[in-house]
């Protein structure tokens, strides 16, 4: 996957978890939970979906890396480039 693919994949996952939120204006370098209503269970859902769909395991110690959209792409790029 390219960085663009990964970004749209993350947005797709988030859209499934919080269907009522408008994701079109999400800024890449601001914490996602500061821009939309996303609680800790929603965040766990993102982690579970990434594992279920792509076999990507994000250890708990790395959760902070996924706080922003840009951070998520950076973190997932090496882990998803072969997909």
């Amino acid at each position: 996957m390219t960085r663009e693919d990964i970004r749209s994949t993350i947005l797709e996952v988030i859209a499934d978890i919080v269907p009522d939120e408008d994701l079109s204006a999400l800024t890449g370098d601001v914490r996602i939970r500061d821009q939309i209503e996303l609680d800790s269970m929603d965040f766990l859902d993102i982690i579970m979906e990434l594992r279920k769909r792509y076999g990507v395991e994000v250890p708990e110690d790395d959760y902070m890396e996924l706080a922003t959209l840009d951070g998520s792409v950076n973190y997932l790029e090496p882990r998803m480039k072969e997909i």
């Binding site: 978890i17 609680d39 800790s40 269970m41 929603d42 766990l44 859902d45 982690i47 579970m48 594992r51 279920k52 395991e57």
Partner: protein
Amino acid sequence: MAGDGLKDIKSEYDVIVIGSGLAGLTCANMLAKFDRSVLILEQHTKLGGLATWFKRKGGHIFDVSLHGFPAGMIKTCRKYWTPEIAKSIVQLKGIRFDNPQFSFSTTFDVNDFTRIMTDNFKIPREIVDDFFVTVRGMNFYDDQTMTTGELFNKFFPGREDVVRLLMEPITYANGSTLDDPAISYGIVFSNFMSKGVYTFQGGGTDKVVGDMETELIKNGVDIKTGSPAEKIVIENKKTAGVVVNGKTIKSNAVVSNGNLISTIRNLIGYENFSEKFIEEVKKVRINNSSCQVYIGIKKGEKIDYIGDLLFTSTAEKFDSKALCSKNITSRTFSIYYPATRPETGMYSVVSSTNANYQDWAYLSGEEYRASKEELIESTLNALDKYLPGIRGKIDWVEAATPKTFESYTLHVDGSSFGTKFEGLKVSMDLPTELPGVFHTGSVGIIMSGWLGAANYGVITANNVDKYLRL
């Protein structure tokens, strides 16, 4: 579904879930969605754990714990169950307080509470806002040394009436007291305050649990009720399965949704753990139990709308220890109108009080019956204030005590709210001590109630799935 034999089940599963409370059911459903083969073993004849109901002569159906939960349950049901279950959730708008210090009705959300605290209790708006910002910002990783009592004292020194307003409903929701960590209060209180109190409509607990069972079966989960697990099998320091009806069913992971302490002590056995861990286990305090009185209004008879949830008391002030005492005057009435079960068109009232197991466990048969009778009488007298002439409208009344809760759930001391705060760490550390063994259910106050239990089921399912991939 029910049946004592084990002939319909396989000899091996990815995961066996022991106990079918909301945490166990939700955990099982998520694991099935992760394509794991799952078996649920439930000792009782029906699913749901304390999310339960029972039928009585006269067409009565009583809900045991469907008092109301935070709005977060809508999202939890939509994400981890079905959109249909989520859509049946509605707000309970009539939450009433009535005690010697204050009396009013509220929607129990941050806007209405801000109004009440400023208008009725004359607390400056800045302090109220600051309090709500503080509790909303609390999370599990924050300082755990501050108690709830200290939190209240910081914002509302000397205001026993405010403490009662803020604490009494939460004490009924999860058995917590002023001595419990402030974060456990803050998290649960904020969950309710975000949008108010919600419940299922168009069918009670039986409908919800029935819908969940249908979904589990659709997702391929095998279910065995009337099948108490005898032992979690440990081989080479990790789990190998579960013994039920004298037979071992193999599995790579086991999730216990039973009481945390009896899981470790009885299902697994202390000998399988490090001494250090057992020391921590022995420090875990069990939360209190409950008494309830179930009051059935005759078919065809009506009662006025007096609110959905009534926090009532004749005690001069709030005292969480006194709330568990046998001669309590504080009780919560859950009033169920026909909207809950339109098909019956009937009304019922369930009165709940917190209670100590020790006060009920050692009575003689005669003393026990007399105490129950006394509980019923004092409850009906208290209810008569809100529904005058209620005795003439009912044709069923019975009481449940900590002994009743113990007998149906097998919880240590009939605990109806799991364990105190320290139980959460023990519950979460279980798989580190014994790979493949997990716990889910009401622990640590935070993971309590319908919403907390269901969400903890998801958190545990995530950990189990991660473990099974190793």
